[in-house]
C-alpha cells in the first residue's frame, strides 16, 4: 500500500471515529474533527512527496496531488471553524461525519489517475454535500435547495458517467495516461471523441458551476444554511477544478482542438452571467453565488491554455478564490448569527458596529473585485497572462472589461457597510460575542488576502512547481 495514501486513510478513519463519538460525546465531535484534519495535513506534508502510480493508476501521487491535498484540508478546517456556532444545534456526529467523508472524497478525486476513482471520489463528495444541505430539517428552504442540488447533481453525474463510458468505449482503457495516448493516436474516431468530451465537459461544468450549467448555484447558495454554503463554495470548487485538470488536462491533452473552443465559450458566458447577474441581487449569499460563477469563468481562462503554466495559473486562482470565499462567508456567517439577516441592505452600519468584521469584508470584496495589491488581483493577472499566452487575446480583453462590471457590486457592499445608516436588523440585534478563535482566524484570513497579494511569489512558485510533469511530454 502506498505511503502517500496515509492522509486519505486517516480522514476516512476519522469519519468513522467521529460518527461513534457523536453518539456518546457529541460535544467532542468538532474538536476531534479538527484534530484529525490537522493530523492529516501533517501526514500529507510528510508523505506527499513519495510520488508514483499504484494499481494501474487507480491511485496516483504526484506534485499536483501533493499541493492540492493540504490546501483542501486546510480550507476544510477553516470552514468547519467558521460554521461551528451555526451548526451547534444540528446533530453533531452526523454533520462532521458527512463533512469528513466529503473531504475524503475530494482527496480520492485528487489522487485519481483512473476514471473509476475519479467518479467514485466525486460521488462520495457530492452525496455528502447534498445531505449536508438538507441536514437542518426545520428549514424548508434548505430542503428545497437540497432537492434541487440533488436532482441537478445527479443529472450532471449521469452526463459525466455517459462521457466516461464513451471514452472507455473509444480507447479501451480507464487509465488517464493510457487514455491520453490512445486519444492522441491516429486510431481514435474524431466524431465519437467530440461527443464523449462534450458530455464529460458538460458534467464537469455542472460541478464547477460554470454558465450555462450554473442554474442550480444561486438557489443552492441562497437556500442552504450559511455554514453549508461556505462548505459547498470552498473546497469542492477546488476539487471540481481537479476533476477538470485530471480529465481534460491529462486524459484528453492531445485533443486540445476539441475542448479549447468549448472552454473559451464556457469562460466567456460564465464571466458575463456572473458579472451581470449579480448586479440586481439583494441577498448576500445570492450575490456571492453569482460572484462564484464569474470567478469560475476566470479559472477556465487559465485552463484553456492546456499548458502546465496555464493549469498552474488556474490552480493559483482557485486557491486564492477558496481563501477569499472562505473569508467572505466567514463574515456572512457571523452577521447571520448577529442579526439573523442575509440582506445586503442590512449590512449598513457594520463598520460602526464591528469595525473588525467590516474591515475583513472590505478587504475580501476589494480582492474579489481584483483591486491591487490584493490576492484577487494577482490571481486575475496570472490567468489573463495564461490566456494571452494561449492566443486568446480578445477573450482576455473581455475578461478585464467584465471584471470592471463585477467591481460595481463588490463595491456596493463596501459602500453599504461604511456609508449607509444602520437598519433595524443590525441596530436592534442583541450583542452576540464572536468566539475568539473565529475572530483570530478571520483576521488571519484577511491578512492572507493582503499579504499574499503583495508577496505572491512563493505560492505562485508552488503552484507552478506542482504542475511540473503533469502533462505528458509532447
Amino acid at each position: 500500500m502506498p505511503l502517500a495514501m496515509s492522509g486519505l486513510i486517516l480522514v476516512a478513519l476519522a469519519a468513522c471515529a467521529v460518527l461513534l463519538l457523536g453518539l456518546f460525546r457529541p460535544q467532542l465531535a468538532y474538536p476531534a474533527t479538527q484534530v484529525f484534519l490537522a493530523a492529516a495535513v501533517v501526514v500529507e506534508l510528510m508523505t506527499g512527496t513519495s510520488s508514483g502510480h499504484w494499481w494501474g493508476g487507480l491511485f496516483v501521487q504526484d506534485a499536483f496531488a501533493a499541493f492540492i491535498k493540504p490546501v483542501l484540508l486546510v480550507v476544510s478546517m477553516a470552514v468547519f471553524l467558521y460554521g461551528r456556532p451555526m451548526v451547534s444545534r444540528w446533530p453533531q456526529g452526523e454533520y462532521y461525519t458527512l463533512g469528513l467523508l466529503a473531504v475524503a472524497g475530494m482527496l480520492i478525486l485528487t489522487s485519481a489517475g483512473h476514471l473509476l476513482t475519479l467518479f467514485l471520489g466525486l460521488e462520495l463528495m457530492s452525496l455528502a454535500l447534498y445531505a449536508m444541505v438538507a441536514l437542518d430539517r426545520d428549514n424548508d428552504m434548505a430542503s428545497e435547495a437540497a432537492m434541487k442540488y440533488f436532482m441537478l447533481g445527479g443529472l450532471s453525474s449521469g452526463m459525466l458517467l455517459y462521457g466516461f463510458s464513451l471514452l472507455y468505449g473509444i480507447t479501451g482503457t480507464m487509465n488517464l495516461q493510457a487514455m491520453a495516448l490512445a486519444l492522441g493516436g491516429a486510431g481514435a474516431p474524431g466524431s465519437a471523441v467530440v461527443v464523449a468530451l462534450t458530455f464529460a465537459l458538460a458534467g464537469t461544468a455542472f460541478k464547477l458551476g460554470v454558465a450555462p450549467f450554473h442554474m442550480w448555484l444561486p438557489d443552492v447558495y441562497e437556500g442552504s444554511p450559511a455554514a453549508v454554503t461556505l462548505f459547498v463554495g470552498a473546497a469542492p470548487k477546488v476539487a471540481a477544478l481537479v476533476l477538470l485538470a485530471r480529465l481534460v488536462g491529462q486524459g484528453a491533452q492531445a485533443n486540445l482542438a476539441i475542448w479549447q473552443p468549448a472552454l473559451m465559450v464556457l469562460a466567456l458566458v460564465s464571466m458575463a452571467v456572473g458579472s451581470f447577474g449579480a448586479l440586481w441581487q439583494q441577498n448576500i449569499k445570492r450575490l456571492l453565488a453569482y460572484s462564484a460563477i464569474a470567478h469560475m469563468g476566470f479559472v477556465l481562462l487559465g485552463a484553456l491554455a492546456g499548458s502546465e503554466a496555464g493549469y498552474g495559473a488556474s490552480i493559483f486562482y482557485m486557491t486564492s478564490y477558496a481563501v477569499m470565499s472562505t473569508a467572505a462567508f466567514g463574515v456572512v456567517l457571523v452577521v447571520c448569527q448577529m442579526a439573523q439577516t442575509e440582506r445586503i441592505a442590512d449590512y449598513a452600519g457594520l463598520a460602526e458596529r464591528s469595525p473588525w468584521l467590516a474591515a475583513v469584508m472590505m478587504l475580501t470584496m476589494f480582492s474579489l473585485a481584483g483591486v491591487p495589491p490584493l490576492l484577487g488581483f494577482m490571481a486575475k493577472l496570472e490567468v489573463i497572462r495564461a490566456a494571452v499566452g494561449a492566443g486568446a487575446v480578445r477573450l482576455a480583453v473581455l475578461a478585464v472589461l467584465l471584471s470592471v462590471v463585477a467591481a460595481f457590486y463588490y463595491l456596493r457592499v463596501v459602500k453599504v457597510m461604511y456609508m449607509d445608516a444602520p437598519t433595524v436588523a443590525l441596530g436592534r440585534s442583541p450583542d452576540v460575542t464572536v468566539p475568539a478563535d473565529i475572530k483570530l482566524v478571520l483576521g488571519l484570513n484577511g491578512a492572507m488576502i493582503l499579504l499574499l497579494g503583495m508577496m505572491p511569489g512563493h505560492v505562485l512558485h508552488w503552484c507552478q512547481q506542482a504542475l511540473r510533469g503533469f502533462l505528458l511530454p509532447s
Partner: protein, 207 residues
C-alpha cells in the same frame, strides 16, 4: 428443441409477466408480476452462464427492492382511474420507444453474430469477478463501501428526528423498569371504604 426448452419456457414467462405488469388493474398484482419477470430474467441469465448476475438480480431486486416497492404500493392510495387514463395517453409514445428499442436490439444482435464468441472465465464468473474485486479493484471497492456508509448515515440523519412534544416509547427504559418504580403497596385499615382520601394512618409498606 428439447435442449432449448428451458430458454423458451423462461422467455415465455418473462413476456407474459411483463404484459401482466403493464396490463393488470391492481397495482399489487402488477408488482407481483414484476417479481415474476425478474425471476424469469434471472433464469435466462443462468442459462446464458451469467450466474453471478442471476443471483444478484434475485437477491437485490426480488429480495430487497420489490419488497420495499410492494410496501409502498400498499401504503399509498393509488388512483387506478387516473393511472389508466395516463396509460392510454402515453401509449403512442410507449409504442414508439418500444419499436426503437426493438430495432436497436436487432441491430446489436446482428453485429454480435458476426463478432467473436463469448470467452467464459475459468471457474465461473462469480470467482472471476470476486478475484478482480478483491485484488486489482480493491481500492475502488473500498470507496464504494465508504459511499454506502455515507448513504446510511445521511438517510438516518435526514429521517430520524425527535420532535418536541411527541410521545414515544423507549423500549430500553421499559425493559429496565423495576417493581419498585411502578408498584406501591399501602396498608389500609380494613373498615375504610375505597375511593376516599387515604387516612393519615396509612403507611407505605416498603417491600
Amino acid at each position: 428443441m428439447l435442449p432449448a426448452l428451458p430458454f423458451y419456457l423462461a422467455s415465455a414467462f418473462l413476456i407474459g409477466a411483463s404484459l401482466g405488469v403493464v396490463g393488470s388493474r391492481n397495482p399489487v398484482y402488477a408488482a407481483l408480476f414484476l417479481v415474476l419477470a425478474f425471476v424469469s430474467a434471472a433464469v435466462l441469465w443462468l442459462l446464458a452462464g451469467a450466474e453471478f448476475l442471476a443471483m444478484a438480480l434475485v437477491v437485490v431486486y426480488v429480495g430487497a427492492v420489490m419488497v420495499l416497492f410492494l410496501f409502498v404500493v400498499m401504503m399509498i392510495d393509488v388512483r387506478l382511474a387516473v393511472l389508466h387514463r395516463s396509460f392510454v395517453r402515453y401509449l403512442p409514445l410507449g409504442v414508439l420507444v418500444a419499436v426503437a428499442m426493438m430495432v436497436q436490439i436487432i441491430a446489436a444482435l446482428r453485429g454480435l453474430a458476426q463478432g467473436a464468441g463469448h470467452a467464459f472465465p475459468e471457474g465461473g464468473n462469480t470467482e472471476a469477478l470476486g478475484t478482480l474485486i478483491y485484488t486489482r479493484f480493491l481500492y475502488p471497492f473500498e470507496i464504494a463501501g465508504l459511499i454506502l456508509l455515507l448513504a446510511i448515515v445521511a438517510a438516518i440523519a435526514l429521517t430520524l428526528r425527535r420532535r418536541e412534544g411527541t410521545r414515544h416509547q423507549d423500549p430500553g427504559r421499559q425493559v429496565l423498569v423495576r417493581k419498585q418504580d411502578r408498584l406501591r403497596l399501602w396498608r389500609l385499615p380494613p373498615h375504610q371504604a375505597s375511593g376516599e382520601q387515604l387516612p393519615a394512618s396509612a403507611q407505605r409498606e416498603d417491600t
